[in-house]
Symmetry: C2
Subunit: 176 residues, 2 copies
């Protein structure tokens, strides 16, 4: 079965310069647990989920209106193609520790979002539990949006608060 | 199969007067997505998860050190017994829109926590997808800890921030 037949179409998106507050409000009002993120030109540049908000926002210990979506999103967007088989999509989610990804057609045409929940009714128990287990065991890694090589690591102050995320590639050192 | 044989033993717990900051730090450092909550006498009084933090903390728009765990936890603790069959536990999770619950033995002896991920390898596809779907579709309800009858509903200010949660039972009106 092709993943294109199961996909949630017309997914909600939010601008990368909106705040975490705006994003959670949109998620809450629409009963959603993830959003796509766009830049000023309406290109899709990232994806956010409850987990990325927990991992990248709460320990900054500031109000939700003070952190922008672009500092919390996963980028680039994990993606599969609409004519991929659902088993291959499950493997993709599992090997990347994801619960959701974007589905594209051709090069840049977004079809929608697919989650492990959407897939679960059409997969074997083994496939479903692989994705669930990998999602749990995997520490979230954020690729650096500047160099696209390093990963963004938290920098803590003595109180255990995250003051900034810094790229672990010494040649880059991008912070956000 | 009995749920007692699959349970995660020695689950981590946190005091109800600790802050959301402390809870997320403990979850992050231990690779956990939920914690049990205790009162001053080491009784288990609630449970918190990533979802309860998203739903009950972020829209308050204050730093994570300013909100206590007891204002975010689900109480009373959803619970099953160690000798319950895993299919019945799946039904319990599904009918309550939960992804996890506590497992007890006898009256008050905690064995551990069980999640849909733990169960997934031992259930049918139908059972797993029922729990996943109900977890997604269900709006989180928090029972009022004062009257145990009403549910705690958010009160918003004009900026869309949650200023307080208030019990919707008119005779109670408890706020937190």
């Amino acid at each position: 079965m092709k993943v294109g037949s199961l996909v949630q179409k017309n997914p909600k998106s939010i601008d990368q310069n909106a705040t975490v507050f705006d994003a959670v409000k949109m998620m809450y009002e629409n009963g959603l647990y993830g959003l796509l993120v766009t830049d000023g030109d309406n290109h899709y540049v990232g994806i956010i989920s409850e987990r990325s908000i927990i991992n990248r926002f709460v320990l900054r210990n500031v109000p939700a209106t003070e952190i922008k979506v672009k500092s919390v999103m996963r980028t680039p967007i994990p993606r599969v193609m609409a004519d991929d088989d659902i088993k291959d999509v499950a493997s993709f989610l599992s090997s990347n520790g994801l619960s959701r990804c974007a589905v594209f057609r051709n090069e840049g045409e977004l079809v929608g979002i697919i989650t492990i929940t959407d897939l679960s009714r059409h997969l074997s128990v083994q496939n479903v539990s692989e994705v669930l287990l990998s999602h749990r065991s995997r520490k979230f890694k954020f690729r650096c949006p500047a160099c696209m090589v390093g990963t963004m690591e938290p920098v803590y102050n003595p109180r255990g608060e995250i003051t900034v995320f810094k790229c672990n590639n010494n040649k880059c050192g991008h912070m956000e």
